[in-house]
């Protein structure tokens, strides 16, 4: 099938502001948006800048605004979009070129929530054991691939880029509710600041945008509850 792909282009070396360019490509209905972008870059216009890596929806590098919604270009089929596909870079980040945005502020926020296991006790000979129930407590938030689709779909983040954003909260949730972790109180304090979880207005754009189907809003609400009750609902060792 033939589709028209409208792409928001911007080259900071020559353009004053972004503009739209249209390309016509021949694709299979089961092709993905990234396949159409490859066709354009490889055979029509080599100057198109697009970022992707694994092409299988797990590296999180090709999130972009496709037909008005944040999606992964490697996980969105052409047949689900119709004859005209519009592609733009993620909103709220500085555009480096075309569809490539500067993700550094995003990763800075990710690092700010201490996204790693903190446990100062001597590790046992084999591993720090955990029951299946304890593991299930944070299963949903382990699925995050840091693609930024949720954060850049969030009106609270658009309004104020200091907001830590849904992705960083999801990452914090993954460790706060891990029974082996000892720094959950510190993480909660970080998210209790005025750039933290209280900025969420339950708009649900994050949930709709997540390509991994994480219930982002639930994770944020659980962090807020932990802050209100001062407990993460896990029996703490003395």
């Amino acid at each position: 099938m033939e589709v028209r792909v409208r792409i928001q282009r911007y080259n900071p070396e020559v353009d004053e502001k972004p503009h739209w360019e249209e390309y016509t490509v021949e694709v299979e209905p089961t092709d993905r948006v990234i396949d159409a972008l490859h066709q354009i870059k490889w055979f029509q216009d080599g100057t198109l800048a697009v970022r992707r890596s694994c092409l299988h929806g797990i590296c999180g590098s090709d999130a972009m605004l496709i037909n008005g919604r944040n999606r992964l270009a490697c996980k969105t089929l052409v047949r689900d979009l119709g004859k005209v596909i519009t592609v733009a870079p993620l909103r709220g980040f500085r555009v480096i070129k075309d569809l490539v945005v500067d993700m550094e502020p995003f990763f800075r926020k990710y690092r700010s929530v201490m996204p790693y296991l903190v446990n100062d006790e001597r590790p046992p000979a084999r591993e720090r054991l955990q029951s299946p129930e304890e593991r299930a407590r944070f299963d949903d938030t382990t699925k995050c691939i840091l693609c930024a689709a949720c954060t850049t779909a969030c009106p609270s983040f658009w309004a104020d880029s200091r907001y830590v954003g849904p992705a960083a909260i999801v990452q914090a949730h993954r460790f706060i509710f891990d029974s082996r972790d000892q720094a959950w109180r510190e993480r909660l304090q970080i998210l209790n600041e005025n750039t933290g979880v209280w900025r969420c207005r339950n708009i649900f754009n994050c949930v709709e945008a997540c390509p991994r189907d994480i219930n982002v809003n639930k994770a944020i609400a659980e962090v807020r509850q932990a802050l209100i009750t001062g407990s993460r609902g896990i029996e703490e060792p003395e």
Partner: protein, 131 residues
């Protein structure tokens, strides 16, 4: 080649409105608008109650405003605004305090909106019935 200044990164209101979010995005926008509308009426209401301190004549003179036909659409909007803001507010409270219930946020929004609309329609009917 000269490097241009960094582009404005903050999305505009137009960007916000053109994003195809789900029900939640429109629920939030309407919640904000209804909140502002109710606040506006509250200011007006404080003002008219304040005029009562100048005696019943002044106050009664002002009341004609609320009974005029020009003002009625605003009364109807006010009824909808208060109801929607209250009921959608309940939806947000439920989502906040029972995180697992958020999978029902869409039907809850539909429910809140339908109840608000039905009561608003009844208000309009009451106006016509009253004449």
């Amino acid at each position: 080649m000269k490097q241009r200044a960094a582009l404005r990164t903050a999305p505009s209101l137009r960007d916000t409105l053109s994003y195809r979010g789900g029900v939640g995005q429109w629920a939030w926008l309407l919640h904000r608008l209804s909140g502002l509308g109710v606040l506006l009426f509250l200011v007006l209401h404080v003002l008219d109650i304040f005029l009562a301190s100048f005696g019943p004549e002044v106050f009664n003179k002002l009341l004609f405003l609320y009974h005029s036909w020009i003002f009625r659409p605003f009364i109807v909007l006010l009824v909808f605004g208060v109801l929607y803001h209250a009921l959608n507010g309940l939806r947000l409270v439920i989502v906040d305090f029972w995180p697992a219930a958020n999978v029902y946020q869409k039907p809850m929004w539909v429910g809140a909106t339908i109840v608000s609309l039905v009561v608003t329609l009844i208000t309009i009917a009451a106006f016509f019935w009253e004449g």
